[in-house]
Chain length 406, copies 4
């Protein structure tokens, strides 16, 4: 159980920190101004392309991908402290490094389960940052944390499949560069619970695909990052070779995709909480009310101390989980992945809330990153499974440990 | 200590409930569609004007104003259960009834402290819903909960005053119909702490007034409701008769304005929490996951029970406060006004958070009112004084009770 | 909904406050010393008898009993503020006034459901404070919040009944003066769920009754107040006329008994919280650490403010419940009785915890009443039904309100 | 940052687990019965001596002491998982292994700072478990978390020192076998803040020493473990060679003693929480209410999941702290020691509270270890410095990190 940062990690952390300080933080207000000035809510601010070029030049590119053929070949434990740093500027840094969801998960999926042709057509341009992709699993009419309720159908028809259904929260799909959708649906509703689902690639321009609208998250469209789309698939026909893996393998592939996806979110949340704590500390050191800096007020110190101890605990649990994923595999780390998914969003939400409170009106406005950070943390108490589902599942395992008479 | 609803209150509640069911709730999606379709973020959706006309026709107009000469002449205790109902649809109902902040506070201020000329010029069109107004107190560079830090200057110069300073969170000021700003600044920085400030009326079109930008609250501009403006006042000259009350009376007038303003917010928050609890209950009764309605899961029942008992307690405290304001005056109810300002936003935030969680992705999106309700509740933990300031002040009073040796 | 204190209540509050200040608070250290010096853990400290005599002389006697034939004839709303005051010294005041559980509930039960003979034999000496009684409902082997699980049998046999079973948490039964047990058991296990149980009077000295041991509550025996007994009933034969009410009426009688019992607990908890808040304020005003009184530290002020607003809210809910019990009856107030049972112990526990923390080591020791107060509040999150059962039940009712399609 | 258990740790954990299962858990009811039967509240139950003999025979003795000359020579990181196990039965296991506070801290102190004569006279019999010792730092009249307030005086007088003052919470001192007191007092009140204090050994039978009374913790005397004494030192004269270290070194020695003391407490608290979680899981699996095992109720599962994730996080932070103490020293681990002192007692308190709630009346009684566990956790939110002092100090450090302009 060794969580230490090795030399490569330390070197990459130093380089990434430089990049953040020199390029990313200064780009935050530029990004905000470009977004405000843009007529089209779904257009990509030019500063993002500049950051990407810069990151690529520095070798800070595709760090998330453990597969050496395509990516940096870092272990989960090596990547964790880097992903944490990108979380400090979550609207810019992950995308600048080509390490943003949902593309990361889709690239992993293609690298692991894709055919040579699928990798050629979709993985390579994704790795190059030329196109984007979306992951279409969640549906508006069912409790998507229960995969057996999925209503979208993928029906074999001659040499192809016909996809029919409605998806939402397909993040990134409002971006015109988003070229392909990874769609989960049922090929065999009568099979065993977790063998009913399959995964298929649907090019965006296939007839029958309608991107209906972007969803908001507490008022944000997340437009510059491709938003969150509601998409109709009406008799959408794709060739049979677009299937990812075998028929009935959809649930297993989704699970394989979700493990790393969840820990990446948690890593970045640690960074968000660190950023918020830094902003909180700076603010209360400067701001004076009733004759004293806020920093001298007992309740503010409670916030700071609590924030620090909550962050430290969550980070250790994330690092342990990363180490387990590297040593016993994602399946062996299942309980820990659930644990960090329960712990980290709520921790970050709490810390950011205190930072907002210390900033007064500025904290809820566009003048600090805090409101945006909070919304990301809050959304992650729901995304990739609500807390309650993870807690129920983790408890079931714990109960089994003691099921034998004592 | 009689909090019962009298006949007039009961009758008005029934009428207002009809109005909500028949007109307001059905108008919510219309309003959302009109906002989404509008090119101008600060334009007023036409449906609001229709609701206002309807409300006025039904006699549901200016209910907030206890002054019988101008308003409905209701006591605070009579108005409380009505304001609660308007909180169930806070983006539509208060404005439809001409009972929305900050106009309500400004109308009260003009009715109580304005000269005949000021009332003629500004109060009457406000009462008729023909213009809107803003209240300019908060400043970006100081801790505005400490009124002694206000930096805006109001300097006598011949037969006028010259106003210089920057304000922000001037709600409603982005609305082109917003015709007048009530500005607080210092006329005498050397006077006793609470005699330095004065209040003055600045017509929007006065030279030197620059409405710089709208602020966001989480991702919302609140544009259809006039937004929240940052405003520069650069050597803005207004006639001396624009002063409200005497020189040095600004702090006292602000306090008089804030008491009712705070309780109105709290009343509406009760209604927001009730709406959220209703949505929560309806959702969990319908939504099925893992083979059972969410309503049968223990943790959801804990949420519902806790929500109910928290709402009931907060409402009773608000009603008691209203009763005290009517019987011993705003000053005598000072502690209770602080108490409800501490209790109610946090209560509503908690209830709404649970309703969001039960709705999954729909809860954070534009498809339910919940995300917007949450943002309003969260902002009220800061607006009109952050919780921490109210708690510190309330504790000081409590400590004084026991200061004598025991 | 008028919660005001009427003249009689105000007068009794003044008299009771005098009694507390002049006699009860000074008796607290005397009581502690007598308990410490006693060889027998179940003996009654003499100071209690003196306080009782004094209280009776002042007319502060049997205030709890609404039945004018036997008690003070106060309404629930009139008694609430008095019971609150007795909660300020919960180990002395309720017993001094002959207003302590479980005797109060047993006296109510006998007054309402007892035969003339039962009242003559048991109620009169209880009213005179000459004997004590216990209520035997909870059993060690079943979840007693679910009355259908009760295992104790009451079997008709000739002109008598035979009682067999084990009870625990029979409060007061370790006191040698405790002369009679009110025992709940099943007369007909095959009847409808809530018609299986009956209630019967068992004199302590009946053959087959074995008081096995006293239970502790976080280390306390509550010995001077009769402790909490585990009792075996082995073929205990009593005459048929000892039945209270009809066969099968046990559940209904228990419910009738529990309503007032629960609100009395809640009233006293308000007083406990007030006492703790007073002690907290006095302590932090005096205690200096790191150069400043604790009272000047922000976090302590948060505690005080939060304590005050929580107490106020809980008290209003208790008063509303009392008012409902008086106007629509215990059944009509069922939801509110559950609400205060959920709210009040947790509120008091929170406040007392903060007072303990401010007292350091003294707070957990015998040198302040705080540790004892905390234990009472904590135990009431379980006694008379755990919070979770009340929450589940209250949520069920709330859900029913919205069950119709919306 | 390697927290893994090495071979020696793993072997000792296996042996200690055997010892717990075979001897300690079965001894818990025996211990309770012996305590209940003992006439003298301060007598030591015989079962403890048997457990000690057994532990010593198995080589499970003095594991806490890193000094190889006297103890097991384990690192902090090696000892942590063992101390955790002893926390599972905190009233028996630590003492059985001669690893119980305050003796452990006193033995460390003597090993590190004691003269050869002091070690000969006091350390050797302590290591052999023949005598016990107390640590006299806390005083009733001052805020003992602020060492500068200490009022006890240690005055040089010829070839000796005269000690005068009152101490309390001197744990273990009620045990007749407790032979020596390590007393902290001021030798030079005019010196620099942290050079005023000295530490001196006072044999219990020195004239002028009066052990006045035992303090209770909630309702527990902790009698079988030597209780918690209040002690008067009235002109107590001891030879000059009884001083531990130099004059003025008292504060530094106390700090050196507190670091390991605090982490030992935290390690054991992890074990207490684990024990409570096991009891909780077993209980809810067996107990049926309203037709279903408690384990199937959603809120119980939330408790279990939350308990598990809180325990895991706290353990990792404790292990990291242990690792830091071993690698950079107690001073370098100062922040982390504070962090675990803030986190661990509150975590354990929370978990144990839930276990109590699931057990109903049994949970607060003597029939489970839970009430006792809870009291230990609660007391540790105060002992060795209240949470608030640690939080304020940790926050100060965090603020310093960001003090430079950003």
């Amino acid at each position: 159980m060794d969580f230490g940062y090795d030399d490569r990690t330390r070197r990459l952390r130093a380089e990434l920190t430089d990049f953040l300080v020199e390029h990313v933080y200064p780009a935050e207000p530029v990004h905000a101004a470009q977004v405000a000035a843009a007529g089209d809510p779904w257009s990509r601010p030019p500063v993002l392309a500049e950051l990407s070029a810069q990151a690529r030049r520095r070798g800070l590119w595709n760090l998330f991908l453990p597969d050496r053929r395509y990516g940096a070949g870092l272990t989960t434990l090596q990547y964790a402290p880097l992903a944490e740093l990108t979380g400090r500027s979550p609207y810019l840094a992950p995308e600048a490094l080509n390490c943003a969801a949902p593309d990361t998960g889709n690239m992993e999926l293609l690298a692991e389960f894709g055919t040579a042709a699928q990798r050629e057509r979709w993985l390579l341009p994704l790795l190059a940052g030329e196109i984007r992709s979306a992951f279409c699993m969640t549906e508006p009419d069912v409790a998507s944390s229960d995969a057996t309720t999925i209503a979208t159908r993928i029906v074999r028809d001659g040499d192809g499949y016909v996809v029919t259904g409605r998806k939402w929260w397909s993040s990134g799909a409002m971006d015109p560069r988003c070229a392909v959708f990874v769609v989960m649906g049922k090929t065999d509703p009568d099979a065993e619970r977790h063998r009913q689902q399959s995964m298929i690639l649907v090019p965006r321009d296939t007839p029958g695909v309608t991107v209906r609208r972007g969803l908001t998250v507490f008022g944000y469209t997340d437009g510059p990052h491709g938003g969150h789309a509601e998409i109709d698939f009406t008799d959408v026909r794709v060739p049979a070779e677009n299937l990812v893996g075998a028929e009935g393998a959809g649930f297993a592939i989704a699970q394989a995709r979700l493990g790393p996806g969840r820990i990446h979110h948690c890593m970045r949340l640690i960074g968000m909480a660190e950023r918020a704590l830094e902003l909180l500390c700076r603010r209360v050191a400067e701001r004076v009310a009733f004759g004293r800096p806020l920093a001298e007020q007992g309740v503010v110190r409670e916030w700071i101390a609590e924030s620090r101890v909550r962050i430290e605990q969550a980070r250790l649990l994330v690092l342990k989980t990363a180490w387990l994923m590297d040593t016993v595999g994602n399946k062996g780390a299942h309980t820990e992945i659930q644990a960090i998914k329960i712990v980290t969003p709520a921790m970050a939400e709490w810390v950011i809330d205190k930072a907002i409170q210390a900033h007064g009106g500025a904290g809820v406005s566009q003048d600090t990153p805090l409101a945006g950070l909070w919304v990301q943390a809050r959304a992650l108490r729901l995304a990739d499974g609500p807390d309650e589902v993870h807690r129920a599942s983790l408890a079931r395992r714990e109960l089994r440990r003691w099921a034998t008479p004592g």
